[in-house]
Structure formats: C-alpha cells, structure tokens
Symmetry: C2
Subunit: 151 residues, 2 copies
Amino acid sequence: MSTPADPGARLGAELSDAVVMFHEALGALMGLSAADNKALGVIRREGPMSARELADRTGLTAGAVTGLVDRLEHAGYARRTRHETDRRRLVIEATAPASPQVNEAVAEMARAMGRVTEQFSPDELLVVARWVELTTATMREQAVRTAARTA
Amino acid sequence: MSTPADPGARLGAELSDAVVMFHEALGALMGLSAADNKALGVIRREGPMSARELADRTGLTAGAVTGLVDRLEHAGYARRTRHETDRRRLVIEATAPASPQVNEAVAEMARAMGRVTEQFSPDELLVVARWVELTTATMREQAVRTAARTA
DNA sequence: CTAAATGATTTAGTGAACTAAACCATATCG
DNA sequence: CGATATGGTTTAGTTCACTAAATCATTTAG
C-alpha cells in the first residue's frame, strides 16, 4: 500500500493521495468537518433529496440529519426548501459556495489544471481522457464493493 | 464546482470524487475515523516520526496524539518504538495492515487498475504517466496553498 | 372522518475525542 | 552536578455530534 513496487500502482497511489489531500484542505477551508463534507458530496453527487434519503445515504438518524443540514445551511453550502406536493418533506439541495476564499481556491485549481492540459496535444488528451474515464469507473465500482465489505 | 462546463474539469471532478469515495470506503473498512485515517496518511507519506512531529503535522496537542497512536496501534496500522539515541522520544511508524479484508480490498483495486492499464499501448501509457505526474504535483501544490488559506 | 403512517424537529442523555495542565523520564546546559 | 528544557503520558473537564424517543405536521388508508 505504501509505495508499491509496480510503478503504475505507485503513481496511482501518489495521485490518489494528492487528490485526498486537496479534498481535505478544501474541506477545511470551507469550515466543514470530514463527515459534513462527505454528506455535502452526497447531495452534490445525487442531487436534491429529502432528509430521510440523506439519512439513508449517510447512515445517520433523522435527528442527526437535522443538525447536519443546519450546519451546511448556516455555512452557506446547502438550502432547505419545502417539497412541492408533500409538505412534510424537505428538499435539501447544494448551493454554490458564497465564500470568495473557497471560490478563489477552486478557480486557482482550475487554472493550475489548465496549465497541465496545455502541455498535451489534442491526440494525447484523448488518451488521457480515456484513461480518466476508465479509472473513474473503476474507482467508483471499487468504492461500492469496498463499502459493501464493511457492512 | 458541481459538473463544470469545461469537459476536462468535469472529468477531473468526477475522478477526484471517485478517488475520495474509495478512500473513504477503505478507511471505513479499516475501522478508522476520517481524522485517524488522515493521520495515518501523514505517517505513511512522511515516514516514521516522533509524537511531537505528528502533533505538529495534524494540529493536535501532545495528549491527543497519545490517544491517536493508541488507536492506530491497537487497530494494527502503526507501531511505537523507542528512539535509538534519545530515549524520551517515540518513533511512530506505519505497519502493513494485518486484516485480510483490507488487504483483499487493496489487492482487488490493484487488479482492477491492472485491467485498465491493459487497455493502453506502451506509448499511450507514457502519455498517461506524464499526465498523472504533472497532475499529482499540481494537486499537491494546490493542497498546500489551499491549506495555507485556512490558517 | 378517524386512525395509522410518514417526515422532520426537538429534547435529554451518552460517548468519543479533544484541550490544558500536572506529571514522570530523559536529555542538555551552565 | 544541579537546574532547566524537552518528549510523552495521564488526568480532569469540556465540547460536539450522535442516538433514541417524544412531539408536531401532514398525508394516506380504512
């Protein structure tokens, strides 16, 4: 796991590590705990959902979700709305971060990645895109399988 | 941030997301909290270090580090040794996970990534490796810059 | 229309991990 | 050698997010 022999695996581990580090740093800048950040990821990934759904996705109880959404809302990363037809339900949705600090960090990352992209020809970028897509699918699948082992 | 217009950025965001998801799933399988998992990452990345150094790296107090290392050690992911010459100091080092569950999850991920690699020619893999290296360096740098904004 | 079910919040109590400070062991300095 | 500094652990007390259960509002079923 730590610096495997296979050079491909080593590169992958280092990239993965760097990704996680950036993610953690951004979460800290946003003032979110790891758990809250993870929940926000769920909302962003799967779109607006009710409190019950969010509870199921995160493994929390209904009461804990109330507090969680309070914090996200107060920090300006999510919003509560009433459901159109069923007025018991909430619609919890992610909002664009209001903090200039956060937006600037994201923008700077985008620019930095732009400078990486610049160094590849269109043909090369197609190869990279193909690899990124396959890798993303693989990681997603392995994440699901690994999560299933925990249960 | 959520599904940006630029296709390159969107792919990057999705990869990053998948990486984080796998990392979280593996941490859960290891029975580690996000904070403990992060600390273990520090030890793995920077090698053996004293409790004081680990406290500085994680931003915890000395007392908290005692508890942290207790948990990591008990779960079988780290080990305490006495420092060779200075017997006040600890040497805290990461150990290979003993859990077959964890090792199998890691091995399965390695096999899955191997199947991705198979689908590229040697020339293409050189391109991918170049991209991965540049991206890793960029993410690391941005992680540091972003962390600095928080302080 | 009433009764039961469902969605979210509130409340009370718990547990885990944190800080600050006291403490022991070892090392360094005058 | 004695005084002071440093590394790690222990202790007491605090904080914070969690669960379980009670509660209120709304919807669905009989």
